[in-house]
Symmetry: C2
Subunit: 671 residues, 2 copies
C-alpha cells in the first residue's frame, strides 16, 4: 500500500502551478511562522514535561486546552519533513532534530508518551479513551515518525514510537486482560496501517484492525458499550456529557453508535469520520494487494465486500447529501460535524456552515485512498478531491501563508466575519494544511507496473504542472504534465522511458466538463474509451504519441444551484473546479453581507484576468449583474438597485482587508 | 385585570361558528376521553399518594415521566370547569369534585402539595427548582382552583392552594433566610397574578413580581446565578446537564440567561417563554389599571416603560423572525424552542419544525394580554392570535376530538408522518387545547365602560358568531356578531341596551385584507377611522346604526412566500386566516411527502366548498396546478408531470387516514 505521504517524493512541481505557488509560500513562510507559534504558545517545549501556566486552566471539560499539544508538534514535524525533502532549510532541520530529541526524552520506561498524562494527571492514563486523545496524539506522533524516517533515513523518532505502539498493543485488543477500547478521535488507525505498510510491524496492523472492527460494538466490554463501561469506571453518570454531545450517549459524535459496517449514514464529528474512513479504506487497500504468493494472508479482510459497500455508502451519503458546494463537510458547529441530509446552511446566521479545514483535508485523504480501494476507478473521488483542494482547503490559508481559518462558512455575518487568524487554541488546522501541501505530489496521480506482461500505467487525478519519475519494469519512467489549471483546460502530457512497454494513461474528465474534451492528436476509434469519469488511452495511442494534449472544456463561468432538497433559494458561480464568492473588498457598497443581493441564471458573466502583484496571485475574477433588494422591496415586487458584482475565487477571500463581508450563494432571482 | 379565563362566561357562541363546532366536540367527547386517559394512565388517582409502577422508571433525567402529573390533573379540572359553565355534565362534575377532594387530602400540614416529592423523593423538596417542576405544577393547580372557584362558587380547591401559596411565599423572595429562586418552567407567575386579580391575595402578587424581577439575575444567590448555586448544593458539576441543554449553563433554555428587561431576543423553550411573557404582560396590565384613587400603589410597576419595551421587543422578534406561517413557534426539537432568526425548517428532515401546540396556545395568551397591556391597540396582536387559533392550535386536535398532536411540523417525512396520537407520556398539549377552547369566548373581544361620561366600548378581535352581555353604566349591554368566518368576510353586528350611551366599536382588519373592507351602512366622513389594524366606529355611527355589517376582503386564495432571509424556496397557499396544506388523502399518487412538487405564484386557484359528512366539517378546499419534478428532472430542466393539487386547511390534516404525507410549503417554481 502506498500513500501520498510516501509517494509524493517522486513528483516535482513545475511552473505554472497554483499548487507550486502555495507550496513555495508554505516552505518559505508558513513553516517558520508556525514554528514561531509553537515556540510562543508552549508546544515547542512541551515534551520537556515542565509545568506550563495553561495547565492550570480548567475552563474546558473534558479536553483541556493543551490536550492536543503532542499532535501540534507531531503534525508540524510531519509537514516540515515533507518540505525538507523538497528544499533544505537549516532552521527547520534544527527544530525537527531538537523536537525529536525532546520527544525521545519524554518517553516513559514502559514506552508511554503523552504530555498531559505525564505532567498534569500522571495517575490517569487510559482512563478516558473516549475524550482524552491519547491515541489521537499517538497517531500524529507516529505519522511524524514515518515522515522523519523517510527524510532522515534513521529511526530516532520511529524507535520510540514503535515502543509506544508495543505499549498500546499490549493493553488493547481482544485477548484476556486487554481492554476492548478504541479511540474517541480516530487517527491512530491510519497511522498504524501506514507503519505496517512502511515497516511490516504486525502489531501496528493488528491494533488498527482491532480498533476498526471493534468500534461501535454495543457489548464489547463486560457486555456493555465500551464508552458506557469506561464512564462507569470513572463514576460518571450518563448525563454528564461533553458540550459537543447534544444528548447523553451521543456516541455517533465519534462514529461509535454502531459498528462501521452497519453505519448507514455518515454522522458526527467530520474530521473523526474522515480519519476513520481513511483507515478503513487502507485496511481494504492492504487486503486488495495480497498476491497469491504472499505470506500476508493475515491482512486478508474478512467481509472485504462489506467494507467496500460501507465505504461507498458513507462516501455517497456525504458527497451527495452532506457536502457544501466548496467541498466543505460538517455543517453543524456544536459537534463540528454532519447534520441531517441536505442540511447545509451557509453560515452561523443560517444555522450552520462550519466546514472545518481539517475535515476537507480528511476528505482528500479518503478520496485518494478510495481511488485505490475501490475496484472501479471512479472520477467522483478525483472530482471531490480537486473540489476540496481548490476551495475548502485552499481557502483556509491566506495568500501570504501567515493566517488561517478553522471554519469555512460560505457566508459571513456580523458575528462571524470572513477573516483569518494567526493561530488557534486548538491548532489542528494550520499544520494540517502544511502537511497536505507537503505531500500533495502524491495526490496528483498513481502509476506503476501493470499486469505481468511488462506494461506501465499512469492514472492522472489532478492537473497542474508537474513531473513524476518512477521505476517500472526495470526502467525509470518519467511522466510530465503542463497546464495553467485551474484557469485553463489545456494540459500537455509527455511520457519518457516507456518506449517498448505497453503504457496505459487514464485521465480524469471532471463532471462539470459534462464529457466535453478534446485529445490532440485525436485518437483513432478504439484507442480511447471513457468510463466512470476517466478516459483510458491505450498502449497504441501512447506509443504513437508519447507527447499529447488534453483540452478539458467547461471553463466558462457556470451558475450552480443547490440540490432541490436543500430547499435553498440560492445561486452560485463556479468556473472549472473553482467556486466563487463576492467580497466587500470588490463590492465596497455592501453593508449587509450580501443577504440582499440576487443574481439571475441567464445573466452574462464576464471573465476578468487579474494579476494581484501585492499578493503575488494571478486569477480569473468574474463580473455579472445583480440586484440589491431589501426584504421590503422584494416582497413589494420592486426592482431594487442594479449592481455590477465582482466575484473572486472562494479560496482568495479575506486577503485584501475590507469589512469581512462575503457570500458564495446569492439569492436566486430566477431567469 | 380581567383575563379571558374570567370573562369567557359573558360570551355565548351561536351558529354558524367553527369555534362552536370544536367546542361542542370537546364538551361531548374530548373531556370524557381525556378523563379516561387520566384514569388509565395513573394521573387520576395520583393525589392518593400511592406508589405507581411508573415511579420506578429512571430512564429520564432530570424530570421523570410522572413529574407533570399534578399539572395534567390541574389542567383537566380547569378545562372541565370552563365547559361545565356552558353545559352541565354529571360525569365531569363528579370527577372534578372527586379530584378536588383527593388534592385536598394530599396537602401536607405545612401547605405543600406535590405528588413526586410526597411519594418518590420526600426528602428532596425545593432542591431542584430549575428542573423539577414543583412551581409549574403548583401554577396549574392554582389555575384549576380559580376555574373551580368561579364555577362552583366555593373554595374547596382555592383554600388549599392559597395555603400552598403561603408556603411558597415564605420560602422564596428577597428577604433574609429566603431563597432567591424562580421556577425553571414559568407558569406559576401568571397563575399567581390571576389569583391576585381575582381575590386580592397580596402574597400571590408579591411572589409573582419577585419571580419575574429576579429571573436571570447573574448574582442573585450568594453572588451566583441561582441555578449555579443550586447545582452546587446538589453537588452537580456544570457539565451534567439535561438533554434539552445543548451546552452546559444553557440558562437561555428557561429564559434565565439575563433579566427579562435585558433580553434582546426570544430564546429557549417556547412554552416557557410564552408563559413567562404572559405573566410579564399581566404585571404591566395590573400596573396600568391603577386609578389615582386606588390604594394599590404597590402594583405600580417600576420601569413600566421598560417592561413594555421588552414585551414589544420580544414579541416582535418572535413574530417577525421566529414564527411559522401557521403561527407555530419553536423550530428546534432539542429544546422545544426558538432557533436563530429566520431558522424555520418545515419538518424534522429539514432540521426542525417542532411548533409545539402548547407554545401556540401560549402565543394566544400573550397576544390577548398585549391587546390590553400595550397602550396602542395593535392589530398585529389580534392577527397573530387568530393565526394561531385557526392553524397551529386547531390542527392539534382531530375533528372527532379524540386525537392530538404535540409537534406541528409543516411537512411530514418518513420518520415523522402527519399523524395524531390518543395521548402523550408528557400530556401537556391535549388539556391545553381543552382549556383554551373552554375560555375562548374571552379572546373574542374586550368591552366595558369607557371614560367618565357614561360611554361603552367593544373591541372585536376575533370574528365568528357569538353574543356577549356585560354590565356598563348600570345597564346590561348586549353585543352580537354573526358570520361564516373563517370562510367568508361578512360579519353582522348588533348592539343592544346601549341606547343613549356613547358607544365606540373597534373592529380588527386583518393584515392580509390589505386595508380592503366595507361597512354597511357606509359611515360618513369622520365617523370611521383606521389605525394600527383596527377601524374605530364612533358614537354617532353606532347610535344611528345599532345594526351594521362589515365585509372584510381578502378571502380569495393567496400565495404566500417566506421572508427572503429564511432563504427558503417555498410557496404556500392561504385564504383568509386559514393556511393550507396538501395531503395524500386528496393527492393519492404522492409517495415522497410532496418534496418533488412545485407550484407557481401566477397559477389559477379554485375554491371548492366541501361538506365532509363523516367528520361533520364544512370547509373550503383549494385546487391548483402543480408540477412533480424529481431532483434529476429539475436539474435537467425538464417539465415533469403536471398535477391537479387539492389543498385542505392545515388544521384539517390527518383526519381521513392516508399515508401521513403532508406539506404546507411547496417548491416555488416562480411565475
Amino acid at each position: 500500500m502506498s500513500n501520498p505521504q510516501f509517494t509524493f517524493r517522486q513528483t516535482t512541481f513545475t511552473h505554472p502551478s497554483l499548487i507550486l505557488t502555495r507550496r513555495t509560500t508554505i516552505c518559505r513562510t508558513t513553516l517558520h511562522t508556525q514554528l514561531a507559534q509553537l515556540r510562543a504558545n508552549g508546544q515547542y517545549d512541551c515534551f520537556k514535561l515542565k509545568w506550563h501556566p495553561i495547565f492550570d486552566d480548567n475552563s474546558r471539560w473534558p479536553a483541556p486546552l493543551h490536550l492536543f499539544w503532542d499532535s501540534d508538534v507531531g503534525k508540524w514535524i510531519e509537514g516540515a519533513c515533507y518540505f525538507l525533502a523538497d528544499t533544505y532549510d537549516a532552521e527547520i532541520d534544527f527544530a525537527v532534530r531538537d523536537l525529536v530529541e525532546m520527544i525521545r526524552s519524554a518517553q516513559h520506561d514502559d514506552g508511554y508518551i503523552n504530555v498531559h498524562f505525564s505532567v498534569v494527571e500522571p495517575g490517569k492514563r487510559w482512563t478516558n479513551i473516549r475524550d482524552m486523545h491519547e491515541m489521537y496524539n499517538a497517531g500524529h506522533l507516529i505519522e511524524a515518525a514515518l515522515a522523519h524516517r523517510a527524510y532522515y533515513k534513521n529511526d530516532r523518532l520511529m524507535d520510540p514510537l514503535n515502543r509506544y505502539i508495543t505499549h498500546i498493543r499490549a493493553r488493547f485488543g481482544p485477548d484476556a486482560g486487554q481492554l476492548r477500547a478504541y479511540p474517541g478521535h480516530p487517527e491512530i488507525e491510519l497511522a498504524l496501517l501506514r507503519v505496517y505498510s512502511a515497516t511490516g510491524n504486525r502489531d501496528a496492523y493488528d491494533l488498527a484492525r482491532f480498533f476498526l472492527g471493534e468500534r461501535g460494538n454495543p457489548a464489547g466490554q463486560a457486555g456493555q458499550h465500551f464508552y458506557d463501561w469506561e464512564a462507569e469506571q470513572r463514576d460518571e453518570p450518563r448525563w454528564k456529557r461533553p458540550n459537543s454531545w447534544p444528548m447523553d450517549r451521543s456516541f455517533w459524535y465519534c462514529q461509535a453508535h454502531a459498528p462501521i459496517l452497519e453505519q448507514e449514514t455518515v454522522e458526527g464529528h467530520a474530521v473523526r469520520a474522515m480519519y476513520l474512513l481513511t483507515a478503513a479504506a487502507d485496511l481494504l487497500n492492504l487486503s486488495n494487494e495480497i498476491k497469491p504468493s504472499a505470506a500476508e494472508a493475515a491482512v486478508a479482510l474478512a467481509k472485504a465486500d462489506e467494507w467496500l459497500a460501507a465505504l461507498r455508502r458513507l462516501w455517497s451519503n456525504m458527497v451527495h447529501r452532506k457536502m457544501y458546494l466548496t467541498g466543505g463537510v460538517g455543517a453543524v458547529a456544536q459537534w463540528e460535524g454532519f447534520g441531517i441530509d441536505y442540511f447545509l446552511p451557509q453560515g452561523p446566521d443560517e444555522g450552520g456552515g462550519y466546514a472545518e479545514t481539517c475535515a476537507s483535508v480528511g476528505v482528500m485523504m479518503l478520496a485518494e485512498r478510495l481511488l485505490h480501494a475501490d475496484p472501479v476507478l471512479n472520477g467522483e473521488y478525483g472530482d471531490v478531491m480537486e473540489l476540496c483542494l481548490y476551495n475548502n482547503v485552499m481557502t483556509a490559508m491566506s495568500a501570504d501563508g501567515k493566517a488561517f481559518t478553522y471554519e469555512n462558512q460560505l457566508a459571513s455575518c456580523d458575528t462571524a466575519r470572513s477573516e483569518r487568524e494567526d493561530w488557534f487554541v486548538c491548532a489542528c488546522c494550520p499544520p494540517n494544511v502544511t502537511r497536505l501541501f507537503g505531500s500533495l505530489g502524491g495526490y496528483l496521480w498513481d502509476y506503476g507496473a501493470l499486469g505481468e506482461e511488462g506494461g506501465v500505467y499512469v492514472n492522472v487525478h489532478l492537473y497542474t504542472s508537474a513531473e513524476v519519475k518512477f521505476a517500472a519494469c526495470g526502467r525509470e519512467v518519467r511522466f510530465e504534465q503542463k497546464s495553467n489549471w485551474p484557469w485553463e483546460g489545456r494540459v500537455e502530457f509527455r511520457i519518457k522511458g516507456a518506449e517498448g512497454l505497453d503504457a496505459t494513461v487514464r485521465l480524469r474528465i471532471p463532471a462539470w466538463a459534462k464529457g466535453q474534451y478534446e485529445l490532440m492528436p485525436s485518437p483513432r476509434p478504439g484507442e480511447c474509451t471513457f468510463d466512470t469519469g476517466y478516459i483510458h488511452l491505450g498502449p497504441t495511442y501512447i506509443a504513437e504519441h508519447p507527447s499529447f494534449s488534453l483540452d478539458v472544456h467547461g471553463f466558462e463561468p457556470r451558475f450552480v444551484a443547490p440540490h432541490p432538497y436543500t430547499n435553498q433559494r440560492t445561486l452560485s458561480l463556479a468556473r472549472g473546479p473553482v467556486v466563487y464568492c463576492v467580497e466587500d473588498a470588490d463590492n465596497e457598497w455592501e453593508e449587509n453581507h450580501f443577504r440582499d443581493i440576487g443574481i439571475k441564471a441567464g445573466e452574462r458573466v464576464e471573465d476578468v484576468w487579474r494579476d494581484d502583484r501585492i499578493r503575488g496571485e494571478k486569477y480569473v475574477a468574474l463580473k455579472t449583474r445583480g440586484w440589491q433588494r431589501s426584504p421590503e422591496v422584494l416582497q413589494g415586487g420592486g426592482d431594487g438597485v442594479g449592481r455590477e458584482l465582482v466575484f473572486v475565487p472562494f479560496y482568495f477571500r479575506s486577503n485584501r482587508g475590507g469589512k469581512g463581508q462575503m457570500r458564495v450563494g446569492l439569492r436566486d432571482d430566477g431567469r
